[in-house]
Every structure is written in structure tokens, then in C-alpha cells.
């Protein structure tokens, strides 16, 4: 994901430098933009054991992984996270915890510090209690703000991760003020990406162009104000760019995600693409999965590209965009990401944007991430 202001100045040289462990898809929240699969409840019984995760950690380091994210679902629902952090530290990772804050008690926070955890990414959805609680489907706002202060008091560097959509984008000033008050080191205002639950709710979530411009102006003013104290990232939705994002920095180049069931994935959303097989660390070594599995070879390099990507002079820059988005919006993962204005399917993006401009918008209910919210039986057939 391209980020304004971020600096990944190290080419992976074919190594999976960024390893993300999705320890579980279980989560106490019901966020309407969740990027977990629609059939997230099918994975509970298949979660890797502590020993299996430790093997993933060891093999990951052998492959050259450096940055490690513990994610989910809500990773604090695993009672072995402290043990996994300690093992990761012993192996020499830079360890990041990516959490909603629910379950991060003072005791566990101290234990994580002791285990050597380097950094915490906490999500917050607005500066307003009622809005946050409505959007995540739980009373979570006050708890999150409390946990944020606890994290700083414990001396962790912290990223406050705020997903941005139509409902909260006009609050950017209030969110910036809250983040400054908490004393976060990095504030990431990231427009959500439209996959899974977010795609179901897209017509209600996608902001207007004017909203994005106002938010950007507020961010720029805050950057002047806060100087070095707080680094602010602002990620605009690719729907409003005329070029696609350099998704994952290219398929199978530096990113490796391990799903709760041990499937090794080039990105967290890739299971939306039909017709691919997802072998797991239970049957294969990480080395084989990364270097030799058909999944990782599928869109590595540019052999797979069709026009207009194949002869495009920007293909080295954005790698044709996102394979998942190409599949979801055009039905073919080898197509150019329709976020690109050169794509023959770009009209699907323009249509989504034009809906944000409709004067008489009839609000529709948002679909919350919860068991039974949508029928997923068709997915089990794959």
C-alpha cells in the first residue's frame, strides 16, 4: 500500500521482509469495513497452535523477514501472544502488535513490554464516542482512548490507525487534536480499501471528492503545526487516484501473510480471487510456499500482464495495481486494476464515485461483520 510520507527504502531482494501473522479472525468488534473474509467464522477450529506459529517465526527469519506484525481479527484473543512476541524477539524481528485495544489489559501490556514488543498499532474510528461505538458495533470508544494513553504511559512507540470513510472524514480536525493530546508518534489516516465487508458497504462508506480535499487540507495544516512530534500519514482512496496503488509493492516481492489456518498469502485479501489454491504451513515449508508455490509465482513479475499494462511505461511503478480489486470489479485477476484511468473497466470506479454525488441519496443499512450477516455457503464450494 502506497503511503504518503512512508519510507521503505529497502528492496527485499526477493526476501519476504514483511511478515504478518493473522493469529485469528475472531474479534469482539463488528466493523462494517472489516477486511477479514466474509466466512471468517469458518477458521476458528483451524487456527495454528503456539508451536506451529513458532515454527513459522523461525522459518520466516531464515528467509530474511525483518518486520513482523501480529494481527487478526483481534490478536489479543490469543492467550499465547506474549509467548510468541518473546520468541520473535529472540529471533531478531522488529515486533509490531496491531490491535483494536480490546483485551489489552494493564497486566498484558506489561507482559508484552517484558517480552520485548517494540511497537503498537491501535485502531480508533472517530473522535466521538457514539459514532465509534455505532461503527464498530460495541461500546469501545472510551476503552480505546484509555488503552491509547496506557500504551504511551508504558513507553511504547504508537501508531494510531484511523480508517477513514464518509462517516468520519469530516472529523479529521478533532481526530488530529485527540491524537496530539494522547501523544501518538504516528497517526495514520487511511481511507479504507474496498474488499470484503467494506465492499459490501461501499456505497455508504465512500467519501466524496470534496470531503477528501477538505481532509487533506486539515492534515497539511496539522503537519505544519506538529512538526517532528507526530508523523501523519494520509492515504487517499485509490478510487480517486487516476493510477492504481503499487499493491503490496508487487505480488510476492516483500510481503508474506500467514492466515489463521496457516495459509501463506501474498496479501490479506487474496482469498477473494477464485480458482487459486492456498497451501498452508501445515503441509509445506515457508521456503517452498514463498519461493516455489504456484500461488506466489502466479503474479510475480509481469509475464501475466495483459494490455494496457503489458506495454505501459508505468508498470514498474504500480505493477498493474491490485489483483484482488481487478478480480472483484472486473471478474478477471489478470486485468488492469480498474482504479487506473487507462483500464477499459475504469467506468466501474467512475460509477461508484458518481453515486457519492447523488443529491437524493437514500441511506441504506450498513452490514456489520458478524456471523450470519451474509450467506457464505457458496464460498465453501470453492
Amino acid at each position: 500500500m502506497a503511503k504518503d510520507g512512508s519510507a521503505v527504502s529497502l528492496d527485499g531482494q526477493g526476501k519476504p521482509m514483511w511478515l504478518v501473522l493473522e493469529l485469528t479472525y475472531r474479534c469482539p468488534l463488528k466493523c462494517v469495513w472489516c477486511n477479514n473474509p466474509l466466512d471468517f467464522d469458518q477458521y476458528g477450529k483451524k487456527e495454528l497452535s503456539t508451536e506451529e506459529w513458532k515454527r513459522v517465526l523461525r522459518e520466516g527469519r531464515e528467509l530474511g523477514a525483518l518486520q513482523l506484525g501480529f494481527s487478526g481479527g483481534e490478536p489479543m484473543l490469543r492467550d499465547d501472544i506474549e509467548e510468541l512476541v518473546a520468541e520473535a524477539e529472540r529471533l531478531g524481528y522488529y515486533t509490531n502488535l496491531i490491535t483494536s485495544g480490546v483485551g489489552l489489559t494493564p497486566e498484558r501490556l506489561k507482559a508484552l513490554k517484558q517480552a520485548g514488543l517494540k511497537q503498537i498499532q491501535l485502531s480508533l474510528q472517530s473522535a466521538n464516542r457514539d459514532l465509534t461505538d455505532e461503527l464498530v458495533g460495541a461500546r469501545a470508544h472510551d476503552l480505546k482512548v484509555h488503552v491509547a494513553r496506557m500504551i504511551k504511559a508504558e513507553g511504547f512507540p504508537m501508531v494510531l490507525n484511523v480508517p477513514i470513510f464518509r462517516q468520519n472524514i469530516d472529523q479529521v480536525d478533532e481526530i488530529l487534536a485527540l491524537a496530539e493530546d494522547i501523544g501518538v508518534d504516528y497517526l495514520e489516516l487511511a481511507n479504507i480499501q474496498y474488499y470484503n465487508w467494506a465492499l459490501l458497504n461501499r456505497d455508504e462508506l465512500l467519501p466524496t471528492r470534496e470531503q477528501i480535499e477538505r481532509a487533506e487540507a486539515a492534515v497539511n495544516a496539522a503537519r505544519q503545526r506538529s512538526g517532528q512530534k507526530m508523523t501523519i500519514y494520509f492515504v487517499i482512496p485509490d478510487y480517486y487516484e487516476t493510477r492504481p496503488k503499487a499493491c503490496m509493492n508487487g505480488w510476492g516481492t516483500i510481503h508474506l501473510t500467514i492466515a489463521p489456518d496457516g495459509a501463506a498469502l501474498p496479501c490479506q485479501e487474496v482469498r477473494v480471487i477464485e480458482g487459486l489454491e492456498f497451501p498452508t504451513v501445515r503441509e509445506h515449508s515457508l521456503d517452498w510456499l514463498w519461493n516455489d508455490s504456484p500461488l506466489f509465482k502466479k503474479f510475480r513479475g509481469d509475464e501475466w500482464m495483459k494490455e494496457p499494462c503489458r506495454t505501459c511505461d508505468e508498470k514498474e511503478k504500480d505493477f498493474g495495481g491490485c489483483r484482488c480489486q481487478a478480480f472483484l470489479l472486473t471478474g478477471d485477476a489478470t486485468n488492469t486494476d480498474p482504479a487506473c484511468a487507462k483500464s477499459p473497466h475504469h467506468h466501474v470506479i467512475e460509477m461508484a464515485i458518481s453515486k457519492t454525488r447523488q443529491k437524493h441519496h437514500e441511506p441504506r443499512p450498513l452490514v456489520r461483520r458478524q456471523i450470519g450477516a451474509v450467506t457464505t455457503m457458496f464460498m465453501a464450494q470453492k
Binding site: 525483518l66 518486520q67 522488529y94
Partner: protein, 94 residues
């Protein structure tokens, strides 16, 4: 971030606590790790940052680096420039 901090010989630069400097075998280089990022360092950068512990003064660091890289006559200026730039990036504190 427009204000540049100019290190004086008696200043004691130290690595910001968000950053972790480490030898990484798989890259055959020192790397700087921080939330959301990795930076691969060249030898000179690594030798300077290794000494940014809050104990050595900028003058101490310059002296040691001059001994390490004897062929580079202008290294002292480069060191102060490097400290200034990395301070601007938030890697080190004064």
C-alpha cells in the same frame, strides 16, 4: 520540519527510541528498523549511528570515524551534515 538543528562538537546525539539498529545477516548490512519501515545502511552511516548512544559527543564520533576512514579527508563535514539530516528525519535526537 523547516528548522535545521546544527550539531555542535559537544552535543551528544542519540538514536531515537523508536529506532532499532542491528546487523542483519540476510542483507549483509546494518539495518535501521522502526514502526512501519526498514532502512538498509551503508557502512559510514552505520558506523556513525552505532556511536549515537547519547554518551559520545559529536566530536568523539568525528575523531573515531576519521580513524576508520583515513582516506576521506572531508569526512568531518560529512558527519555533521549526516547528523543534521538524520535529526531532521527523526532518527536521532540531540
Amino acid at each position: 520540519m523547516s528548522e535545521h538543528f546544527h550539531f555542535q562538537p559537544e552535543d551528544r546525539p542519540r538514536l531515537d527510541s523508536k529506532y532499532l539498529l542491528r546487523w542483519e545477516k540476510s542483507q549483509d548490512a546494518y539495518v535501521l528498523l522502526y514502526p512501519e519501515g526498514v532502512i538498509k545502511l551503508n557502512t559510514t552511516a552505520a558506523e556513525i549511528l552505532k556511536r549515537c548512544t547519547g554518551e559520545a559527543t559529536a566530536a568523539n564520533i568525528a575523531t573515531e570515524l576519521k580513524a576508520l576512514f583515513v582516506y576521506n579527508a572531508d569526512i568531518e563535514n560529512s558527519i555533521y551534515k549526516f547528523l543534521e539530516i538524520t535529526h531532521g528525519k527523526g532518527w536521532i535526537r540531540s
